[in-house]
Each structure stands twice: as C-alpha cells, then as structure tokens.
C-alpha cells in the first residue's frame, strides 16, 4: 500500500515533530536552582552485614535462622519494643518455629491478655492461648498517637519487608542514633537524630543501651548484639516461611537443572541430522 503508506508517513512526521518540539521545549526551559536537599546529604544507606539466614556468601540461597538468636531477639522485643510496638500478624503458635516447646509457647501466650466473651456476652480479658495473635498495644491509631506525643509506632510484623534492605536497615537504625546534629539540619526538638531514618529525625527515643536486656544464654548484653538479634527476629516475623522457601528452592532448582540438561540433550539429538547435512 504505497499511497496510504506515504499518507501515514506524512501524518507521522507532523505528529512526531509536534511531540518532539513540545517535549524539548520543556527540556530547554531554565530550571529553578534546586534547593540543597539536606536530608539527602546526610541520609545513610544501611550497613551491610553477613547474616546467618542468608547462608554462604550472604547470597540468600542457603542458610537457616539461628534459633538461639531468634529467641534472644524475641526477648529484646518483649522487654523493649513491645512497650509501644505491636506484632499483630504473629500468633503465639508461630513461636514454636523459634525452638520453643508446646508448653513454653502456652506459657508465653498466658502472659498476654486478649479480649473474650463471658457467659453473659460481656467482653472480658482472658489469658491468651497459642491460637491467639499478639494483642495490640493501643486500641487504635488515635490512642497510640495520643500516648506517643503524636507519633504512631508501626506494627512490626512486616517491618523488615516494608523497608528497603530491611534487616540491615533495622540494625543500622537501632545503632544509628547520634547526639551531634549537623548544623544545617533543622531538627525538631522532640525528635531524635538518626541518619538512617528516611527523614533523619525519628520520634522513637533510642531504644537500646548496653546491659538493657539480660540474656539467659550468656550472650553479652551489648547494643550491637541487641540490634542484630532484634533485626533477625523481626526478619523471621516478616517472613516466617523463609527457611521453607529456600529449602524448596534448592530442590526445585536441582530438579529443573536435571530436566533442562535432559531437554538440551534431546534437543541436540533431534537436531543432529539437520545440523550434520544442512539442506
């Protein structure tokens, strides 16, 4: 269709020129000098750490959680974080993955209270069972903000997945509080300076200090240990199927690898005659 072709081409030329001129007209406009972004200047990316659950080479292909570390992290959560933060997507029964026995899980659950109905249909508090989830700290967002000076402590069930490079981020954040604030950064007085936080100013006071939690297994009570342990515990909380996922992944890849090799061999066999004497 040569004639309609040239018609289309003429139209295209005009439309094309219109788009090109318009977009380039925007490109040549002078830009307002962008104000210096202080937050960008001081914001830091998480420090990279090798984690046991990332396995060899920190690649995330192999590796399992260190159960003792998960339990320590859980202890830090219970004694420090849970004062303000909920863990509402985790049920007590899930804790058996941390290496606790059924009786231990029951005992942990019984330390918490959840709402229930009594025989008259009135709401009462009763000790939680393994089937219950970790209760909320505050009944709702308004209650949380009013108790926390306007800030909202997020639920921690998904926190390591909800932040880029979450596990490393959490550890860096825990250790990242700084007393000296850069002179060109206007920090509100009620907030704390932490260059790993996206806005540099975080409402959460420094949660950890040396010796704040006493570990039962003799691990040293250093801030560094606390930060790593809570980061690993919350990584588990965000992704409780992590070990199952990688285990199955290795099996699937092994299976597919063999299948693909067989596929390659049969492909070569089928095509052999054709490649030998083309035509």
């Amino acid at each position: 269709m040569p004639r309609s072709g040239s018609l289309v081409q003429t139209g295209a030329l005009l439309v094309g020129l219109l788009f090109v001129v318009t977009v380039l007209w925007g490109a040549v406009q002078p830009r307002d000098a962008a104000p210096e972004d202080v937050v960008k200047k001081y914001h830091l990316y998480p420090e990279q750490v090798a984690w046991e659950h990332n396995g060899a080479g920190n690649l995330g292909v192999f590796g399992t959680f260190d159960r003792a570390q998960l339990q320590r992290g859980f202890q830090v959560f219970r004694e420090v974080c849970s004062a303000c933060h909920s863990l509402n997507r985790i049920a007590f029964r899930d804790l058996s993955a941390l290496g606790y026995s059924e009786a231990e899980v029951k005992a942990i659950a019984a330390e918490y209270e959840v709402d229930a109905l009594d025989e008259y249909g009135d709401v009462i508090k009763k000790p939680a069972t393994p089937a219950d989830k970790f209760p909320l700290v505050y009944a709702n967002e308004v209650a949380a903000r009013s108790a926390q000076g306007g800030a909202l402590p997020p639920d921690l069930s998904l926190i390591t997945k909800a932040r880029p490079d979450g596990t490393n981020y959490l550890r860096s954040l825990m250790l990242g509080y700084r007393d000296e604030v850069p002179s060109d950064f206007q920090k509100p007085d009620t907030l704390y300076y932490n260059p790993w936080f996206h806005s540099l100013a975080i409402a959460m006071p420094p949660p950890l200090s040396d010796e704040r939690v006493e570990y039962a297994d003799g691990t040293k009570g250093t801030m560094d240990n606390y930060a790593s342990d809570i980061a690993v515990f919350l990584t588990w909380a965000a992704e409780p199927k992590l070990e199952e996922r990688k285990e199955r992944g290795v099996a699937v890849i092994a299976f597919l690898f063999i299948l693909t090799i067989l596929g390659y061999l049969s492909y070569k066999k089928v095509w052999r005659d054709l490649k030998k004497k083309p035509a």
Binding site: T22, L24, G26, A27, E244, L256, L259, G263, S266
Partner: protein
C-alpha cells in the same frame, strides 16, 4: 493455511479416526503445534519467547486462580488476606511469589518478544494483523498487571491507583467524570478494589482469547525468520514437532530456572518495599513509582513539563504516554522498507540498538524521583522515542541502502555453515514483502 508440503494428520487408532470425523481437536493441535506446521529451519533462541510468553500467562492464571480462593476483595481485609496467604495457607507464599514475580517475568519475556519482532521486521506484510493483535495483548497485559498490583491494597497499590486513574482527569471537560466512573467514587476505595478484582480475573481470559487469534494469524503466513526472507520451498522448513518442540522445551527449562531463582531466593527484589505497608489514604509515600515494567512509559508521562498550544503539560504527558504505545499500531506503514530483517539493513540495525538503549535508559529515568538530571534526560529520550518511530524510521526505510538478500533461507543457512553460494544481489523481489505469500 499452511504450505503445500505440510505433513497431513493421519489418525492411526480407531478412537483417533472416530474423533477426527466429529471433533478434530488432535488434528488442530497437530497442525498448529505438531508436525503439521512447517516452520523456517533457521529460527534462533529469540523465537522461543512467544511460547515462553504463553507459558508465563498460564502460570499467572493457575497461580492466580489459587490466590483468588484465599483473597478477600474488601479494603478492610484485602491486605490481611494477602498476609494470610503468605503465612497460613499451605504453600501460599510460593503461589503468591510465583504470581508477583511471574508478572515481572511475563513482561520481560514479552518485551524481548516485541524487540525480536522489531529487529527481524516481523510486523511487516503479511503479518501486520499478527503484530497488531500482539499489541492488543500487550495493552491487556498492562491493564491486568496494574489492577492486580492494586489488589494487594498496600501503600503503592493505593497511590498507584490514585495516580493512574488521576491521569484521566487531565482530559478536558469529561476528565473528572471519567475518573470518578473508573474508580466508582472520588478516590480509590472499596468499589475500586472490587471492580479491579473482577476485571483482573476477567482480562487474562480475554488475553487468552486474543492469543488464540494471534497464533491463528501467525499460522496463515507462517513464522518469520532471522533472514526475513519468505519460505520458498520445503527445504526451507522443518516440522514444528519435534524440532521446535524440543528447542522450546529446552528454552522453557532455562526460563523456569531463572524464574525459580527469583521466586525462591529473591522474591521481593523486583517489588517496592512500600507495598508491604497497608494502604493509608492519609499518608502519601515520598516517591510513588509503578513496577519496573511501566517505568519507560512513566518517564514519558512525566517528561512533558510545559503547557504548549493551550494544552496543559499534564495532558501532553497523558497523550504522549498513550501515543507511545498506540503509534506501534502504525509501524507496518511507517517502516516501508521491503527488507524485513535488520540483518540486511545496517543503518536501521544501528538505529535499532540505539532505540533499545533509549528505552532502557528511559526505564531507569522513570524509576527515579522527578528531579534533575532525570527529568531532562527523560525529555531528551522521549523526544528520541517519538522521533525514532515517527520521523527517522520512515525516512530511513525510504533512503537506506540495504545489503543483498540471500535467495532463500536454505542458502543463508548453507552460507553460515561454510558453504560458498554467493548471495544474490538486489533482492527486493525475492526476499522482501513483495514475494508471493505462502499459499
């Protein structure tokens, strides 16, 4: 529908004969994917991606149907039901990761498939309708992927829905009405989530239907090939089965290996962390971005920053974004060169690779915040994107000097294997679109 030398289906069993005279489904499969479909013998690995795209769609449908059994399309519980799938449903985490990663892989495969078509001139006569059906599939995929992403009802879901439906509000007079109509309200809410779930479930099957048309349309002229030269004789072809079924099976194995590596070892690497935060209409994320497969188009959308000819910048962006895809429908008439394959079009080949780089960098720019130098870069690249299709390609196709085409596919293959048959010169009649159709 096929070449005269195509093998004929001959049922051997009594049951086969019985079926063949009643519902000849085996014959249909034999003629479309079996030994009854003669295929050029020189197809390279880039020709695997059509089949891979089909497999990717099937994976999406199968995993999606399973997810749909556990998902609840209600704003108050949608996010929770996804986490329920991740934590409490048996293997739910695997199906969800397969579905999420699968969307990315579907697009990756389709992009390679499209670029392959661009490189070897597969959009040229007699395959224009085939090409346009492919573009319809691409548009359906984009709509489906966008709505699927909203279903999670995370922060990026919600704000992505707000931004994308907000594009329609740029249209003069009717814009706001259309946006309200699309959302079922003034902002994304339960009505939006429900209709997106309904459509997200429907469109893959519509896509499947268009794929059947796409494959039907493919089987009329038969597959194009890396030389772009028409099939001339039986020597040029081999039966699809077992030659390409075995090659496709091997390619599928490689694809599934890479796919599994992402699903099982880095399932969240292609997504935004923000979408693990439940949707909050009162808190706008600092940086709203779509998934990576929309980045080039997002860059084009944001590249128009000045009002021009009484059309506001936002509307220019919206028009340009849609135009960037719709112009592909005109490609068979924009590129009028009779030579299909870029193998024999040195100038156009160089421009093809420039275009690939432009798309790639546009993608990077689209994923960045709207600040310098990314905005200006997007603007220059957007200008090139339109210039490539609408200005450069038509001119090049008229004035370029193409290389001599081989007389036939067999000859090209022979030359590659060390034969010394000299290629013919001035192959306009033999190798181009003027050659006789397959029938």
């Amino acid at each position: 529908m096929s070449f005269p030398w195509a093998k004929q289906y001959a049922p051997t069993s009594e049951f086969g004969k019985y079926m063949d005279s009643r519902l000849p489904l085996p014959r249909f499969v034999y003629n479309s994917l079996g030994a009854g479909y003669p295929t050029p013998k020189n197809l390279n690995y880039f020709y695997n991606f059509g089949v891979l795209a089909g497999v990717a769609l099937v994976i999406q449908i199968l995993t999606g149907v399973i997810l749909g059994m556990h998902f609840a399309a209600d704003t108050s519980v949608a996010f929770d039901s996804v986490e329920h799938i991740m934590r409490d449903v048996n293997s739910g985490w695997m199906f969800r990761y397969m579905h999420a990663v699968g969307a990315s892989f579907f697009f990756a495969v389709v992009y390679i498939h499209i670029f392959r078509g661009l490189y070897y001139g597969s959009y040229k006569p007699p395959r224009e309708v085939l090409w346009m059906l492919g573009l319809v599939i691409f548009l359906l995929m984009m709509a489906t992927a966008f709505m699927g992403y909203v279903l999670v009802w995370g922060q990026m879901s919600f704000w992505g829905a707000a931004v994308i439906t907000g594009l329609f509000s740029a249209l003069p007079l009717v814009g706001e009405t259309i946006q309200t109509w699309l959302l079922g309200g003034f902002s994304p809410d339960n009505a939006t989530l429900n209709r997106f779930f309904s459509l997200h479930y429907l469109l893959p099957f519509v896509t499947f239907g268009v794929i059947i048309l796409h494959v039907w349309s493919l089987h009329i002229p038969g597959s194009n090939n890396p030389t772009g030269v028409d099939v001339k004789s039986e020597q040029d072809t081999i039966p699809f089965h077992p030659y390409y079924t075995s090659k496709d099976f091997f390619g599928l194995g490689v694809y599934l290996l890479i796919f599994s590596a992402f699903v099982f070892f880095m399932p969240n690497s292609l997504g935004e962390a923000d979408n693990y935060i439940p949707a909050n209409p009162l808190s706008t994320p600092a940086h709203i971005v779509p998934e990576w497969y929309f980045w080039p188009f997002y860059a084009i959308l944001r590249a128009f920053t000045t009002d021009f000819l009484f059309i506001p910048a936002k509307l220019w962006g919206v028009i340009a974004m849609f135009a960037s895809i719709l112009l592909l429908f005109f490609l068979p008439w924009l590129d009028t060169s009779p030579v299909r394959s870029n193998k024999y079009r040195p100038l156009n080949r160089a421009l093809f690779w420039v275009f690939v780089v432009v798309c790639f960098v546009l993608g990077i720019a689209g994923g960045k915040p709207a600040e310098e130098p990314w905005v200006r870069l997007s603007q220059v690249l957007t200008a090139y994107y339109f210039a490539h299709f609408l200005i450069i390609l038509p001119l090049v196709s008229r004035f370029e000097k193409t290389l001599p085409l081989p007389n036939s596919i067999s000859e090209a293959v022979l030359t590659k294997f060390g034969g010394n048959t000299p290629p013919s010169s001035g192959g306009k009649a033999v190798g181009g679109i003027a050659a006789q159709p397959a029938e």
